[in-house]
Symmetry: C2
Amino acid sequence: MKKLDEAFAILAQIPIPLSVKMIPLEESAGRITARPVFATYSVPEVHLAAMDGIAVRSEDTLGASEQSPVTLPDATRINTGNVVPGEYDAVIMIEDVWIEGTTYTIRKPTSPWQHVRPAGEDIAESEMVVPSSHRIRPSDIGALAAYGVTEMPVLGFRAGLIPTGSELVLPGTKPGPGQVVESNTRMAASWLTSLGGECTRYPLTPDQPDVIRSIVQKVAKENDLVIISAGSSAGTKDYTADVIAELGEVLVHGVAIKPGKPVILGKIGNIPVLGLPGYPLSALTVLREIATPLVRISGIPVPEPGIISARLTSTLHSDAGTDEFVLLSVGRIGPSWVATPLSRGSGVQMSAVRSNAYLRIISSLEGYEAGETVPVTLNVSEVQAEESILVTGSHDPVIDHLAELVRREHVELHSNHVGSMGGLIALKRNDCHAAPIHLLAPNGDYNIPFLEKYLPREEVSLICVAGREQGIVSREGFSLEDLPGRSFINRQKGSGTRMLLDHELKLRGISKDEIPGYDREATTHIGVALAVKTGEADAGLCVYSAAHALGLPFVPVAQERYEIAIRREHMEDPRIQAIVGAIRSPRFKEVLNNLGGYDDSITGVLRQVP
Amino acid sequence: MKKLDEAFAILAQIPIPLSVKMIPLEESAGRITARPVFATYSVPEVHLAAMDGIAVRSEDTLGASEQSPVTLPDATRINTGNVVPGEYDAVIMIEDVWIEGTTYTIRKPTSPWQHVRPAGEDIAESEMVVPSSHRIRPSDIGALAAYGVTEMPVLGFRAGLIPTGSELVLPGTKPGPGQVVESNTRMAASWLTSLGGECTRYPLTPDQPDVIRSIVQKVAKENDLVIISAGSSAGTKDYTADVIAELGEVLVHGVAIKPGKPVILGKIGNIPVLGLPGYPLSALTVLREIATPLVRISGIPVPEPGIISARLTSTLHSDAGTDEFVLLSVGRIGPSWVATPLSRGSGVQMSAVRSNAYLRIISSLEGYEAGETVPVTLNVSEVQAEESILVTGSHDPVIDHLAELVRREHVELHSNHVGSMGGLIALKRNDCHAAPIHLLAPNGDYNIPFLEKYLPREEVSLICVAGREQGIVSREGFSLEDLPGRSFINRQKGSGTRMLLDHELKLRGISKDEIPGYDREATTHIGVALAVKTGEADAGLCVYSAAHALGLPFVPVAQERYEIAIRREHMEDPRIQAIVGAIRSPRFKEVLNNLGGYDDSITGVLRQVP
């Protein structure tokens, strides 16, 4: 198994053979010039008036003054943009001219070439407008059009993408058991298009070596780069490497990266071939870490992403010898950037959707400790990353709807589901902007006693999202009393929902040992409902909206106070203000009513600790 | 005349009525979601094996160890991605199983749900994938396809662009005297397309009120935003405001911005109408400072550009009361960003092409002094700005070709033509990375005596570009001796070419008073040649390549040493190394030979001072 840098050095010997294409100037924004482009004439080509006024011979104006006005022997009216006739060498503004019929009198002299736009002021014939390898911008297009350019030579390449795997179905078809929706070539096509590729996606190809061989052969003839995407099942049916070896050469099979290890780098003739692993995040990592640099070294200047320093909120272990890439949500809290790792499961595409950055743990390291400052690569602009707000704690489906409401105000809400206690700890460490919590204290109050205990002497504000109903979700309408002997799906330790369950079980004298599956954990309400729906468990405790979303019966257990805790020093942050504003908006009450199971009478109420 | 902020506040009352369009998912990268998008099924929908191995009931594995292996009563072979049958709750890796026929023996127990990808691990049915106002990325497309989404609701608007002006000709037509190539609606269409607009450019419209009125009426019916672009001639034929007033309302006519003052903001029905000034940089400023924020407040989250602090290399005066925007070349020199203002002529489109940033001088200020640190807005990414190198000093056409050669190595050469002495001063102030100079000292040597005098005790390296021939350019083959009595075009004070002229005139005993136009200045060799070509002057002094480019006779006067001066501390900078490498490359010798008039025998020679 090769290390990433070694593997790439081998692949870099087979750059993509770029092609040069003439495309209409108007369609060239964002593309890369293949050659320098020169002006074919000068702009302006002749001297033009830069003001409305009269064209004059400057020598005629010498000596003019308030005391001795000069009536010009020869001058002519001229407007901005008009050609200055050859016999004149200056323009006098109309405001400085006394006109009687065709007689022009002036009271001050002009210097030669005043208010004249000289020929070639903008550009002279033969001068270079843009060099090659230049990313064309709309303002360049205006200039190039003015200089007579109507077509641009741009760099590109043809990429052929082959989805393989007998278990694949097309997007739009609901996958049956064991089927997988073919999404990787769509992601890859979109990715490569943004780098200047002209992408062709070929039909779904079953796991049959002969079929794969004939399609790869055809695609290699028709393209400058071939991407063979495997189905997500590895196992016994992996023919990609054999086919590449038959038709060309496998340069590297397996690279020490995570995710993305099973990648294949090869060539057929003089064109590079990539075997993309089936797991979506593996495929994404290969596109970003291998395909993109390949495009770059082939001659297309792909923009480099921004890098910032951020404090990591949790410890990340990684195997020495492997370059591991971890997707992150980053946000700026006060003066420093904070980075929260997302799920590392290579099938969890939502990690990519949620992420605005990633971390490379280089192969010589075994990971990073929580609290370490690490170099983080943004996959959005830094300005957009500044818009993000880290919300860490208890999960509720309304948080997504809140994200939706604040999005229009340029706030990007990143939620991280770690339960209420996890939220409290994150808030204590300044690892998040806001922590949604619902922690029932023995005195019957929610949240404040926990803040007083775990964040003593810290000033915290609590904004109430809603009173919300928790209850038993099941397929058969079970209540809490029915739980003994039923297979259960619980929430993770430290979640308010689990603490509520324990409290309610104790009230009813039910022991956790009577409930099989008490130790099985989901991290979201919808995860609990889904486990029930799929039959993995008979019952769970969750909010009404989650049960309702999956069409499952719900038997209420308790109403609780779901609040967001925010350090008081951050309350004036416009991003926080946007969240508070959204919670108090009529739109949000509508959302609560539509979802069901929420009491909006306490929505938006502010409480202060201490 | 309204100030920019006031004018925009008025326009903001008439947002663009955005439309929602369903487009194929594959084509949605870069577009903005109009609504949140939800998962219609869970992924995975059932439990899947995360490893190749056997599916087991975890309770059957209890007690297994090296000493007491367990042969499982019930288990089945399973590959990664296969469905875990309902009766099993864990997967054991194939490496940990001893297989005999259909008998599976293990030597350690497994916990429930080990190596199982639980249903909903990625996303659960009904969960929000992306909120509205989200810019869709290729990685989102992969996820959305996997979740069954095939079409995306995206925000857009229809923009209708009308070029007006009887002097306009279409790009590709060489403009005759007084004609102007219509480029502004092309720039505007490209600009607005990048913001999500669907742009239609309407035909060239002459300066006739009736014609303009009927086309504007039609365009306002067919679009959500109307842009009326004036020809570059203002003057007597400006009917745009009248037409808008007749069909709707002129909200603001004239905004205190520079360039861009004559802009018109209006409405027809409920759609906004912008009257774009004719000068290209005025049009660009209005697109950036008015149209873009209008799109943003209408609901499309246009990315905000990055802002950096940079030291200004020259003083900029500006009228109080006016917001002035100055295009800049910025580059990082050592630890600090340096910003060089580009030509402020509003017809100089090359300033936009050359710029990578701009400065807003707000209306309460009268400008900035050279050396002040100012907030600068980038119009490229910060990473791309880091690639730029500021080359300030004497101009030569080969500098553009050098820019071309280093561009492929991710170096963006920004040249600023201020003459050799200007280059020396910029180098002294650390206002540039490199200064091309050709200064003849009385002792016959070039450049070093000047560095010793003006940058005493500074360590500077000189890399020779070429020996180059300067000579007299004319239409009639004049030599230096023919200059007396001929109309001349000179170079600016402090330019090496002007100093060479003075030296050569003195040698021949010719007085500058004998040469009409001695005080007339162009800033580039090609500018000199162009003035001769257009008949503005009879003769000038320039390099062979400039005369050759415009097909003019050239009579040699002297060969000089054209070198680039670089502070020694910057010699190891990879961008400088790229330039040195390019100068020494065989490709560059080819360039010199093709251009003609250069002696490449000293090309690439390094000299050190002191």
